[in-house]
Subunit: 299 residues, 2 copies
Amino acid sequence: MSPIAMTAVALLASAAMRQAADPAPPMSAADQIIGASPAGDWRAIDPENTLYLDLPGGRVIIELAPAFAPLHVANIKRLVRQGYFDGLAVVRAQDNYVVQWADSDGKRSLGGAAATLPPEFTAAFDAALPFTPLPDVDTYAPQVGFTDGFPVARDPAAGQTWLTHCYGMVGVGRDNAVESGSGAELYAVIGQAPRLLDRNVALVGHVVQEIDILSVMPRGKGALGFYQTPAERVAIHSIKVAADLPPAQRVPLSALKTDSPTFAALLQARRFRHDDWYKVPAGRVDVCNVPLPVRVGRG
Amino acid sequence: MSPIAMTAVALLASAAMRQAADPAPPMSAADQIIGASPAGDWRAIDPENTLYLDLPGGRVIIELAPAFAPLHVANIKRLVRQGYFDGLAVVRAQDNYVVQWADSDGKRSLGGAAATLPPEFTAAFDAALPFTPLPDVDTYAPQVGFTDGFPVARDPAAGQTWLTHCYGMVGVGRDNAVESGSGAELYAVIGQAPRLLDRNVALVGHVVQEIDILSVMPRGKGALGFYQTPAERVAIHSIKVAADLPPAQRVPLSALKTDSPTFAALLQARRFRHDDWYKVPAGRVDVCNVPLPVRVGRG
């Protein structure tokens, strides 16, 4: 299931409903809108910006965001292509916060990758980037919306835009120095959007498939959710760039374009969700409460 | 770990930091504020409004909110005291949404408990209830803040107040009819706050200890995250009201009073978090990004 699932806010259907004669839940407005979407409202996710994180529980798929953190994305791909992550492990799982993977024993060489990078915590405001604004007020930023499938905040007065820490976002762990995040240590958000981190750390992508492999990992009992013993860690079989696999071995994924009419219709249906179950439409929605529809298949 | 953990937004500390000579992370401003708090800023959590949900993974502790949903809380306690939940199971785990427990086979009698209840999705605005407002704008409600430890929204113009669907909140599953939620089917939020549910369903409490026992449960592969076979369900050993156990068998818990000077100081430290790691303070905070400090021990 996507992190940002196809039907993220489903009914709080009772078990009794599930026991009814027709076991299929009624098709939601969102499902109907997606079902009627033209092929042109979808984009193929670029294999060159796709990572396969292979774990004992299966394959987590991450889409990278080079438009927002080009140096970090390039460095991560350099590390991946050196096999840097293969045989490392998830070393931290903090409830309602993040899972994190790294070379905890500090034995790997970064090889040709950089050890430090300019921060890239925000990007320069760029009017040329597509941006689908949300009409609703946000606690943390003057403007929020979506760019190329990613949740984004903007502050035109400050000339800045940045990715927001929503569920499933992937970022770069760092030490106190702002340039200390190389991409050798990555985390994924598995809880309430920790928006206080926005503009303090580089976000580089989001999980588009199977985040539950990460989100169900046993929480670490050490400080900050670090596992206390190496035996608790979850081994990483490998991380690969999808483009480096033969086409037949890739998972073809498509995401709904966030500047498409279908996405606009979904946003409205979500803001004013009102059906047999929902009695009081909120009339608004938070940027981290909007799922990105992702499906297997091209275009 | 509390859902609403003592140090909910911790550093994205690197593993390298953890490997340093002093394994203890530096004490955060929040830890220092809590460490200096007077005993009078804490309240004992009432055993009469505390549920022990005993699962194979351990004990989840829930504090009930009778001020907001008195009829539902009373009915749930009636069910608990009949042993209604003992031997039932968690039947649903939907990623980034909820876990839910119920009598999926529909074989239990509700006994002396009501099968339907008035909605209690909102409560009448009551100026006598303590309320610590958040100064920051909220996407979903005119006012947000805290009442008796719970995250709360208010709409004075509509004369309403309601609990908000933050991580760890516990609510009552229902069918389409608004009075169909008896409390025999309960859910806990384990993902991004599904605030679209606010005012559509009765919230009755929050998890104050060990929510990770719920949040790591394997996600169901059926529609809405329901488990597809009985074998996947997670058995409930029992649910008990803490007050029904001998005092020596209870877990004494205290929560920080949300109308205390210590909580006010924590809020400010969180809104303007700025330390060796945090470079850009947000200057604001979302009602679902504020942890409730809970500790073992009385007062």
